[in-house]
Amino acid sequence: MLLKKAKAGALLDAIAAKERLFVPADDRGTSRFVAYGAGVEPRFDLLNTKLPPKDLLFPATETLYRWSRDGADLAIDSAFAETDPFTVFGLRPCDMASVDRLDAVFLTKGYVDEFYQAKREAATFVVATCAHPGRACFCDSIAASPHEAPTADVLLEDAGEEWVVTPQTEKGASAVEAWKPYLEEGDAEPIKAACDLKVDMAAVPEKLKGMFDDPIWSDIGDQCLTCGTCTFVCPTCYCFNIDQDVREDEGKRFRCWDSCMFTDYTAMAGGHNPRASKESRVRQRFMHKLTYFNDRYDMNLCVGCGRCMRDCPAAVDISLIIDRIAASEPAQEKEAMAHA
């Protein structure tokens, strides 16, 4: 089945008539997944949006429960609500891979986050492959591929003027069924692009285990501002904080994104901070991205989308960091050399 790019508008209108639809689009100088409606021009030509789609499943600020008081009576109400089905149309394979990572965090290992789950189950992800990966894209050597997205509900393979439409899940199949009037029969050759930028992750998670005291961290610390940009534009960073808003007779407890780059992320009540230095915070971020997460979930937490490299005010480049780790001598060898 084919979807002519020129005719995508009609399909989007039809989907939006039925449920909420999110598409990549420009938004006041940035780009992100926005609710489709009149006047919205989808940007399927963007490689990936400036802001990742993670807030559709894991909002930056999300109320968990509310409380109120009437005299001596105290009431606590969960803010949990079922989510109506929605479609995310046109995300990239790297972002789909990021959803896999979020799934692992919020839905596996014996704990299910119901707030996340409700949105995840309501979502249909339609992934468009990348015909021309960007210079900062390296998904195919770390987590995904520009031309495939196995966990997407529907895969749109870029074939130039059209997409080859393939449902990959049940949810996807019923969606494509509904799209039929806008699709055409036929065959086209999908573009099987590859990233120019490659990293060699093979030995990285293991090597990192011996690099806790490596000078690499102070070098990155010298360069890094320890702002939170990378963590907020990262599609897989999932750390959050819990805070509350208290008013006279009511209040709410909410969670909001947090960043391991911030000093108060690890600040303790007594004033001690185990990660007071820049280098210790930088180390934590890359250790988590490149080895700790692998230990727990058996996959790289970095999906190679290139957002952090693109937006970092200090041009910290995760691909160069991976290169340097890959090129370093394993710790045991170093130690052996030191003894020799």
Binding site: R28, G29, V34, Y36, G37
Partner: protein, 173 residues
Amino acid sequence: MPRDNEQTGEFTPKILAFCCNWCTYAGADLAGLNRMNYPADVKVLRVPCSGRVNPQYVLKALQSGCDGVLVCGCHPGDCHYSTGNYYAKRRMMIFKRMVEFAGLSPERFQIRWISGSEAGKFRDTVVEVSEQIRALGPMENDAPSRAAIDAVAGTVASPEADEELFAAAKEAI
């Protein structure tokens, strides 16, 4: 606390007045001693000196529910601590210009010098500021109109984003 008078449905503003202990607070006490009558819209928060008033308190008050903020101290030259109000004056001059530049109605943040003997001036100031804020209505009224948003905003991506922006603007400054 209900924002509108239950009987009349009239808007009752919430105005916070930071008053220095030595001059304005004493002036407010004197107004009481003289049984002067003024609206209850203004509540006084006692500070030792107008130099103690951090602009951060002012913005916090305006963003968390107050419709107006008044900062009062001794007349320049009369500060109990000699210089506190001079510092306050410079800080507030700059801060006031900044929040007004960012779109706050000027009446919502005012600074006055009221001495310990100026009970009448305290009363008059409270009456005046209260009337001004009543005329402006609640802080939400400071939010820009659709026309203003359209005139300024870059390309807004979607109706929903537009709604979000409008809703955000409706929140108190």
